[in-house]
């Protein structure tokens, strides 16, 4: 569910641009002394902090939350947030803070793997389309058009019905649905690069096409792909949690954010914390990934 491209209008590299001037003057600056750090600093700093916590939680969850996220304690079920349970407890008395922290690994892993898959697929399609002949380009273009014409959730639902719910299915489903959008961006990127002076000259110098691909094209495409990946991970996390919400993702009691949210919504009226904290974590993750992706993108443009 990512309009990654929506934030892609200022991708680095020789992109065919929309209307308006080709050179982006960067954030609008008024003359005068800088009095406070603008949005260009605060948001990325916040995002970077969030990202650090998330990575820490994913790598060494035990440091942040020593409580076992799976340990049940029916006597303490539905406790509201307190000093002993920062985020409260769920219907089986499991500590929600611990579950949110331990949920970072599966949730981010699903997001990252899905993004990697989507981008990988897109890279193949996009490069083949951008660099291949007219027919290949047309063929892949049609394929991508068809994939875009199907609502993403439909694609995911059909795929899950096909392969059965689960982590790997979720990854593939999300990867598949995000691939066509990425493919379009990469294609236009490759197109623009192909026409660039650098590649022209390499070709004139008689370099082998493979060498051109690996020496010039891929390294130049890498930057935008990284930006895409950063922007995409957060949205992939949302996608995956939506599938969990519909009961098609990771099976409980595994601490996965979407599954926790799905479990919590039943108790919305009586235990708001069960929905609130995992939801907030997903929002924070997606927002951090957007902010970081965009500041990476600005840096690449040199604004």
């Amino acid at each position: 569910m990512t309009p990654v491209s929506s934030t892609m209008s200022s991708l680095p590299g020789p992109f065919p641009r929309g209307p308006g001037p080709r050179r982006r003057p960067g954030p609008r600056r008024r003359p005068g002394p800088r009095r406070w750090p603008g949005p260009g600093v605060i948001l990325p700093a916040l995002a970077a902090t969030t990202a650090c916590f998330l990575v820490l939680a994913a790598v060494v969850p035990w440091w942040l939350a020593p409580t076992d996220p799976l340990a049940i304690d029916p006597g303490a079920a539905f406790s509201s947030p307190s000093l002993s349970h920062w985020f409260g407890t769920d219907e089986s008395g499991r500590d929600l803070y611990s579950r949110v922290v331990h949920g970072a690994r599966p949730s981010l892993l699903i997001g990252a793997a899905a993004t990697a898959l989507g981008l990988g697929l897109a890279l193949v399609l996009g490069l083949a389309s951008g660099l291949g002949g007219r027919w290949l380009d047309a063929g892949i273009g049609r394929l991508v058009e068809v994939m875009l014409a199907l609502p993403g959730l439909l694609l995911a639902l059909v795929f899950i019905a096909l392969a059965g719910p689960g982590v790997s299915t979720t990854i593939v489903a999300v990867g598949l649905t995000t691939a066509p959008g990425y493919a379009r961006i990469i294609r236009s990127q490759a197109r623009a690069l192909r026409g660039s002076a650098m590649i022209e000259s390499a070709r004139v110098l008689g370099h082998h096409p493979a060498k051109i691909l690996f020496r010039h094209l891929l390294p130049n495409a890498l930057g935008p792909v990284l930006v895409l990946a950063t922007l995409g991970v957060g949205q992939a996390v949302i996608w995956a949690s939506a599938l969990s919400f519909l009961g098609l993702g990771e099976a409980p009691p595994a601490p996965e954010w979407g599954a926790m949210l799905a479990a919590g919504r039943t108790y919305l009226g009586s235990a708001w914390w069960m929905t609130f904290f995992p939801g907030l974590t997903i929002v924070a993750t997606a927002a951090a990934s957007t902010v970081l992706g965009r500041s990476l993108q600005r840096r690449a443009v040199g604004a």
Partner: protein, 553 residues
């Protein structure tokens, strides 16, 4: 299909009554309307907005398929030959009586006279015959109703109000079957329409008729102005007080409860335990608890393959898991623990608490005896390098969230003695596929049926053989000749005491064989606005009917 003078009222009408009512197996209660006693004069007119959390039926004719959501709706516009009274006794409704021959192979069914369907046709013997033939027609694709009338071999219309039924084998459950909405009687003329037409608006004799069905939103039911209660002696025999019912489908539990709170709807079903608890404190919401008949909600242990082919391992599992703690915290004490294969509303149910006492030490001992002596690095028991692992497919359509959470807790407590339980949440299609392929060790499947004959469906060895569609009901895969014989004898006898004795014996075999872990009755909780009065009339399968109900507003 309530019974006069007062319909069965398995209701906890006030929160404070709840505990005692549960003990009284939900068949208590009587008389007065729920909530306010200030003004008991029914108000005529008004539209009841009812929100169901059950899946929207794909067909409103409960003959087709035959599940609980269909029964819930059909109770408003269709009526049955028999029904259940307050004491749980099966009593005539559209029928006036039935008599079996000495050998139990021939039944003579008599019908009440002067009853008309809403399309103007009259109820007669030929109509009943057409209905049973409709159920038996493969094209109807009836499953529940089909099984209920399976033993009827042929029928002879004697006169307008007399029908003879010839059975292939004696069937002590026949009248119980006739009380179920899945065997409700529809207009023969209407049944001749295409299935699509009949599914969209079945025609019956009930207090309401189907006037409009907006898919995925609601079914509009309008009052049958010509309705009269078929049984004599009703204090309210004429048309319903309510002018109409809007029957909405709101699958999300939280949304459904919010709709009741905000006054968008007047009554909801499938109320979740936490909202029942919350409603106790709400002044404008009342609670109705109506356990379904048939089987209790239970976990069945698949005895057809390792590790549960060993009775010791089955017992070890039953002794290992902690039911009580989860039950009280997850269900907020709204569900009473069951120790029986049958629902607490079944008079022939047999309970044995001792068979299900938690005892982890004994579980460990049993597993040691069964040869599961080693433990792997994660603490699970192993035998010859194989882990003691159990597959537990859970249907998200059939298990409410609290139940799914309970299963997760079983997973945790079973681990303590070395069981690995793998929970798989599946949609209904995939769930049936997994069962059909015998890829399960544990399973929980509800089964609603009136009467103890449900035991034959669940435990007779013939029901381990899947239908062509892959469906079978004996999920524990019990194959016990002695049990089969008992079930057959119980089904054949017409003597109530003998029947009870046989079914009790059969239940003992099942419980002592450790084939199942009973949890609680099939939960059937309703919450409704205090503006809605005289709620509580029920069909034989504990679905509410609204002939008596009225709205004060």
């Amino acid at each position: 299909m309530p019974v006069v003078p007062r319909p069965a009222r398995p209701a906890s009408l006030a929160a404070s009554l709840l505990a005692s009512l549960l003990v009284l197996t939900g068949c208590a209660g009587s008389g007065g309307p729920g909530g306010s006693a200030s003004d008991d004069t029914p108000v005529e007119g008004g539209t009841l907005v009812y929100a169901s959390g059950d899946a929207e039926p794909t067909c409103l004719d409960p003959h087709v398929g035959g599940n609980y959501p269909q029964a819930l709706l059909a109770g408003q516009y269709l009526e049955t030959l028999y029904t259940k009274d307050e004491e749980g006794k099966i009593v005539p409704w559209l029928a006036s009586g039935a008599e079996a021959s000495e050998d139990g192979l021939t039944w003579t069914l008599t019908l009440r006279e002067g009853i008309e369907f809403t399309d103007g046709t009259a109820l007669d013997a030929a109509t009943v015959k057409a209905n049973i033939e409709h159920l038996q027609d493969p094209d109807t694709a009836s499953s529940t109703g089909y099984l209920a009338v399976a033993k009827i071999k042929s029928m002879d219309v004697v006169d307008d109000s007399t029908l003879t039924l010839n059975l292939s084998a004696p069937d002590s459950a026949l009248l119980e079957s006739f009380s179920m909405p899945w065997v409700a009687i529809e207009s023969a003329q209407a049944l001749e329409r295409s299935q699509a037409d009949n599914c969209a608006a079945p025609v019956g004799t009930g207090p309401f008729t189907v006037s409009k069905w907006t898919k995925q939103d609601s079914v509009e039911l309008t009052r049958n102005e010509d309705y009269t209660v078929p049984v004599d002696g009703a204090d309210h025999a004429g048309p319903a007080h309510l002018e109409a019912i809007t029957w909405k489908f709101i699958p999300e539990a939280a949304t459904r409860y919010a709709a009741l709170q905000s006054g968008t709807v007047d009554m909801i079903d499938n109320a979740q335990p936490d909202t029942i608890k919350a409603a106790e404190d709400a002044e404008d919401i009342d609670h109705l608890d109506a356990p379904r008949p048939g089987a209790s909600n239970r976990i069945e242990l698949n005895s057809s393959k390792a590790p549960f082919d060993d009775a010791k391992v089955r017992e070890a599992f039953i002794r290992a898991v902690d039911v009580q703690d989860g039950l009280s915290s997850l269900f907020f004490d709204t569900a009473e623990r069951s120790y029986s294969a049958l629902s607490s509303v079944e008079p022939m149910g047999y309970s044995d608490e001792s068979a299900f006492e938690r005892d982890p030490e004994q579980a460990n001992r049993l597993l040691d005896e069964a040869g599961w002596t080693d433990r792997d690095s994660q603490g699970y028991r192993t035998q010859d390098g194989k882990r003691l692992s159990l597959t537990f497919p859970v249907s998200t359509n059939q298990s409410v969230p609290a139940e799914q959470s309970l299963f997760q807790q079983f997973q945790a407590t079973a681990k303590e003695v070395g069981f690995e339980v793998k929970l798989d949440l599946l949609d209904l299609s995939s769930w049936y596929d997994v069962l059909g392929e015998n890829h399960y060790d544990l399973v929980s499947a509800p089964y609603t049926k009136v009467g103890p004959d449900v035991l034959s469906i669940l435990f007779h060895s013939s029901n381990t053989v899947p239908a062509p569609s892959g469906y079978f009901a004996n999920h524990a895969q019990v194959k016990d000749k002695k049990l089969d014989a008992l079930l057959e004898e119980a089904s054949a006898t017409t003597d109530a005491d003998e029947r009870q004795a046989k079914y009790t014996e059969a239940q003992k075999i099942v419980l002592e064989g450790h084939y199942l872990l009973p949890l609680y009755d099939q939960q059937n909780h309703f919450l409704y606005s205090t503006d809605l009065h005289d709620v509580g009339a029920m069909t034989a399968v504990a679905s509410p009917t609204f002939h008596d109900a009225w709205l004060a507003k």
